[in-house]
């Protein structure tokens, strides 16, 4: 149900680790809860993020949701296409809807996050 190669947070973000680069996004559960996304507020390239620290926010028509970083690191790239097409988060939250890429300060932090099975159980329990 949830991609096996990602790690997940309690705040419904996902992290893809490739070497010391992390890609961050929000899960399908998150985008469904938010509804149609109208705007994404992302940090500037170069911003230092802490684990569980604020990364930005996602807005639907009637709600704003803070996004927290799954791991610590420096923002190296942001997904500029979201400015014109925020709906990508709804349509493809694990692919085209990626938010930022970070240079991980400690790739081992990923191990402390949930795997796909744990996350699925977590979401099920929340409901």
């Amino acid at each position: 149900m949830y991609p096996e190669n990602l790690r997940y947070t309690k705040e419904h973000e996902w992290l893809l680790v490739e070497g010391d680069t992390g890609t961050v996004g929000i899960t399908d559960h998150a985008q469904e809860e938010l509804g149609d996304i109208v705007y994404v507020d992302l940090p500037r390239v170069g911003t230092q993020l802490t684990q569980a620290g604020a990364l930005g926010s996602v807005e639907s028509v009637k709600a704003v949701s803070e996004i927290y970083s799954p791991a610590a690191g420096e923002v190296t790239e942001i997904n500029g296409t979201l400015a014109d097409a925020p709906e990508k988060l709804n349509e493809d939250p694990y692919g085209a809807g990626w938010l930022v890429k970070i240079k991980l300060s400690d790739a081992a932090q990923a191990a402390g996050l949930m795997n796909a099975a744990d996350y699925e159980a977590y979401v099920g329990a929340e409901k």
Binding site: D36, Y39, V61, P86, E87
Partner: protein, 492 residues
Amino acid sequence: MIEKVREHLSQNEPLLFERSSPGKCAYQLPALDVPPVDPAEALGAENVRAEIEGFPEVSEVEAIRHFTRLSTWNYAIDHGMYPLGSCTMKYNPRINELVARTEALAWAHPYQPEALAQGSMEVMARMEAALAEITGMDAVTLQPAAGAHGELTGILLIRALLQQRGNPRRKILIPDSAHGTNPATAAIAGYAVQNIKSSESGVLDVSALEQLVTDDVAALMVTNPNTLGVFEENIIHAAEILHAKGAMLYMDGANMNALVGIARPGDFGVDVMHLNLHKTFSTPHGGGGPGAGPVAVKAALEPFLPTPRLKRAGKRWAYDYKRKHSIGRVKAFYGNFGVLVRALAYILAHGGPGLRNATVDAVLNAVYIRKKLEPYYELPYPSPNMHEVVFSDERQARHGVRTGDLAKRLIDYGFHPYTVSFPLIVHGALMIEPTETEGKMEIDQFVNAMISIAREAETDPQLVKSAPHGTRTSRVDEVAAARKPVLRWKPA
């Protein structure tokens, strides 16, 4: 069966700019009785603008038809009930409009000599006195322009007093059921917000409060009755807890329509509060404003009130600008005088007994609605309600129908929706406040409409989810409006 309304009357009409064409005009100025002046010479050529590109050019008849047609696309209190919880959409008496236009009041300039403004000053003094009596407080400022503005003023007053006592403190406690302006205001006043969870019965959790009130807490902002329409039975105890720790009790007066003539905030421990004249005191909403948000305080806070204050100078009124401890101005001039006139007219018309009767009727109407709708809608909190009642959409949600859908379907029955999804502590809230304006006939029509919709949610949910069906526009795409905002007309 829909008894109340036909298909929404709807003229067609483009925007002013689409009606425009060069040379049409709707004005005529008198001939100049002084020599004309060359703008370039008087202002400097670089300061003279070219034409106002795109500005409308229409005739008088086109102008009146334009706005008349637009007006037919609106719902209004003059059409029927607004069951909007927390908004107190009562009738806007037309006598208010007449007196506000009395020439020497409407044309008074705020800087005209005090000797030639005694009438306006007397009106303001009378309002201050009336509001002090109604709220049970010691002093009133009429300067704030609206409720949120009054909230800011009130919190700044608290800060000033605590500062004088040595420590302004850093936090303000706000219930999770509060209106959004409360935390927003606290932030602007430089305070951190700490949420306090409501108890299981939906009221202030006094034991939680006891834990949270420290020397670092400046105040608790409370609405009473709260946003569930329930009276905060522990308010006196709450005030004692706060005062024992040197903190203050701020009351958001949005729900005063449940209290006027029955109970006075000053008598149950409130230190400072604001009123919404466009709610409790009948001034018109006019599509979103203007309002007025007078603030009433206990004597300890009086020295900090915004400057200037009215004072007696022999037989006349005068302004006192020498107020060392004042927080300063929150607005230019004296307040929304035109709104004050309307509210005073309302108070004069009702008088003491009439104001109390209005409160009784407002509560009676709301309790009646609760009793009638309880069998059909989930009531999350069983406590007695006052002037408003909050249901949740739990039963209808089982069929996939949410509070927003029910609200849209209510439009087809000829009513404006109730307040949707507020307060946040109720999932899928329906907040209903009829006010005293509504007679039994209108209320029964509303109740019957709500019952019918509850049935439709079970038997034909799609009908409800795709509502409204009889209006000029169907549901508007708010997502597109937010993704690609178009906030002005531009020529093709």
